[in-house]
């Protein structure tokens, strides 16, 4: 399995996805190797829950831009992965790539060893950027299209992403498989001093409105901030914003200009455990994304038994059923978002109703054991097709 991020290196949702998927696959007897980028303090090789994790030199010489860095990193990744596969006498049944960030290494390995390639496409450039405007964006888009073309099958985590990738890359229906993302509800069971932890973020009489995510345009944090005056007019609350991103300075200026610095708290990057505790302290978790291929944050909040308010868009629209497992609001709409948040905060019995429904749904549909079973079955069907084909070297 190739991924540009794996814990402790966590940039976005791919890192926890690959961590959980690989752990469960290993538990089911799939001999799993993860090749990923290095991280300060993390060993070059370690075994994590039975998974062999190999961290490669992520290319530290200055490079002109992110994409060029990534392609250079792929040179190192492919070199190391080729050595690993060769040391295993080529006895690797399948290569599983996550997003374009490892496309080059994965495609090269596929051809060198003639091993089938499976690609999970978590999100697309055309979706992240809401169109393709520059050669840089087109280049990434075409790299994604190349990966999808070279892959035996493409996995997407929601029905929305299935139709989106089919449209974006012109993929036939039978090439794309929907296997949802998962969440591990057990991580929210750890005991902690709730009042003491909560007091670091809000006053006792303030409700906590939680946002977790990268601070970029597509996540819609600015819409949430704009909705705050309407919320505060009816409820005493504190908005806690967890995460980093290019829009952070812009958002802080926005908050200051609105005279809301005392009601909106930017925590910056928080470690995994603190985020988990914070979920359990929150009164509502808001996912105001403008574009969201899946929406793992909503799922984590549901698993932590926090009521969710989400934009009715992309993968979020599939996870949440309005008035049953959460509240759906119009994307990029301040009025609608404020209405959704106050509805949950002002009606405890309604909040309890969606919270318990959501909890049940997460356990039934989004647990990693079930998801890993589906992935393992897909691996098996690809390997069976491969065995009967003529591409396999003799």
């Amino acid at each position: 399995m190739l991924s540009w991020e794996f814990p402790p290196r966590t940039v976005g949702g791919i890192s926890p996805h690959v961590y959980n998927l690989s752990s469960h696959l290993a538990r089911m007897g799939v001999d799993t190797y993860v090749v990923t980028c290095d991280f300060p303090g993390a060993p070059e090789y370690e075994e994590v829950n039975g998974v062999h994790v190999i961290r490669v030199d992520s290319y530290k010489t200055p490079s002109p831009d992110f994409a060029t860095w990534d392609y250079l990193m792929n040179v190192n990744m492919q070199k190391e992965a080729a050595t690993i596969i060769s040391n295993l006498n080529g006895k690797v049944d399948l290569i599983h790539a996550h997003d374009w960030l490892v496309a080059n290494a994965a495609i090269g390995l596929k051809h060198i060893f003639r091993i089938p390639l499976l690609a999970t496409i978590h999100s697309t450039e055309i979706g992240r950027r809401n169109g393709l405007h520059t050669n840089y964006e087109r280049m990434i888009h075409e790299t994604e299209a190349w990966l999808a073309h070279e892959a035996w099958k493409v996995v997407c985590c929601s029905q929305y992403m299935v139709s989106h990738t089919r449209w974006a890359f012109g993929l036939p229906e039978d090439k794309v498989v929907m296997i949802p993302n998962g969440v591990n509800a057990d991580v929210f069971k750890q005991e902690f001093k709730k009042q003491e932890f909560r007091s670091k973020f809000a006053e006792p009489d303030e409700k906590i409105i939680l946002f977790v995510g990268r601070l970029v345009n597509e996540k819609g944090v600015h819409v949430l901030i704009n909705a705050m005056p309407k919320v505060l007019a009816r409820v005493n609350a504190k908005l806690v914003i967890v995460g980093e991103g290019g829009m952070k300075d812009f958002l802080k200026v926005q908050v200051n200009n609105m005279r809301l610095a005392h009601k909106i708290f930017f925590t910056g990057f928080l470690d995994e455990q603190s985020v988990r505790f914070l979920y359990q302290c929150a009164d509502v978790c808001v996912v105001p994304s403008l574009y969201e291929p899946f929406g793992i944050v909503a799922l984590e909040a549901m698993a932590a038994k926090v009521p969710v308010v989400v934009s009715d868009t992309g993968g979020l629209a599939e996870i949440v059923e309005h008035d049953k497992t959460g509240v759906k609001v119009y994307p990029n709409n301040v009025e609608s978002l404020a209405w959704g948040i106050t509805r949950v905060l002002l009606d405890p019995s309604y909040a309890e109703w969606i919270r318990s429904n959501a909890d049940r749904k997460v356990r039934e549909m989004y647990n990693w054991s079930k998801i890993a079973e589906k992935v393992k079955a897909l691996y098996q069907s690809i390997c069976d097709e491969y065995q009967h084909g003529s591409w396999k070297p003799t």
């Binding site: 290319y59 010489t61 200055p62 490079s63 002109p64 831009d65 994409a67 060029t68 392609y71 250079l72 792929n74 040179v75 492919q78 070199k79 080729a82 050595t83 596969i85 060769s86 080059n104 495609i107 090269g108 390995l109 051809h111 060198i112 060893f113 003639r114 050669n135 840089y136 087109r138 280049m139 888009h141 075409e142 790299t143 190349w146 073309h149 070297p393």
Partner: protein, 210 residues
């Protein structure tokens, strides 16, 4: 002996003098009974072609058409080069003796093929980034130098065309002089000297009669 040459220019695509050089190399290798393949780039004339001179040429295009610099263009092309080289490998029942990489462009492909399939390679240097960029340390030039260093480090032998270049490779990349072979294209016994260098890279007797 079966050799695959990697080059980013080969007739009819002519960027500089490397194209003519590689053409002459391939033709002369065929005359010496070397089964010679060339893997190169062309945007429109793609696929397999065997000329009257007996050189087998595979041309690949770039799977990613939109590019932002020479480096991304090259790095997206490498996997196509690997694909074709691996195809040759499997079609010839895994009997490819050596890859000759001409300049830096396809050193990543050669390294992966060496690590993955055990095909050794020689790195033939026509020109160096340090000279082309006048010693620039801009990120783009540094990255290209990084790929040259990768080639120099991982190759069995480095082939250069002059004594001066041999010293330059040592100066810039700290390469041991024993690893560098000087083969002048103007030498009367040029192709024999190339073959001797290939044989040294393969660890077999440099005596061509054996």
């Amino acid at each position: 002996m079966r050799v695959i040459i990697f080059t980013w220019e080969f007739p009819p695509r002519i960027v500089g003098q490397l194209s003519h050089y590689v053409n002459k190399l391939a033709i002369d290798l065929v005359k010496k009974s070397v089964d010679t393949y060339v893997v190169t780039y062309h945007d429109s004339w793609i696929g397999y072609h065997q000329g009257v001179d007996g050189v087998k040429v595979y041309r690949v295009s770039n799977p990613v058409k939109s590019q932002i610099n020479i480096l991304t263009w090259v790095l997206n092309l490498n996997q196509e080069v690997e694909r074709v080289a691996a195809d040759i490998f499997y079609l010839t029942k895994r009997e490819v003796d050596l890859i000759d990489v001409c300049d830096w462009h396809f050193t990543p492909a050669a390294v992966s093929l060496k690590r993955g399939l055990g095909i050794p390679f020689v790195f033939s240097i026509d020109s160096l980034e340090d000279h082309r960029s006048h010693g620039s340390s801009a990120p783009l030039n540094l990255s290209i130098k990084g790929l040259e260093l990768l080639g120099v480090d991982e190759a069995e032998r480095v082939l250069v065309k002059s004594e001066w270049m041999k010293q330059e490779v040592r100066r810039i990349y700290k390469t041991p002089l024993e690893k560098i072979e000087v083969v002048s294209p103007h030498s009367p016994a040029w192709i024999d000297e190339i073959l001797i260098a290939y044989r040294k890279a393969l660890g077999i007797s440099p005596n061509l009669a054996s």
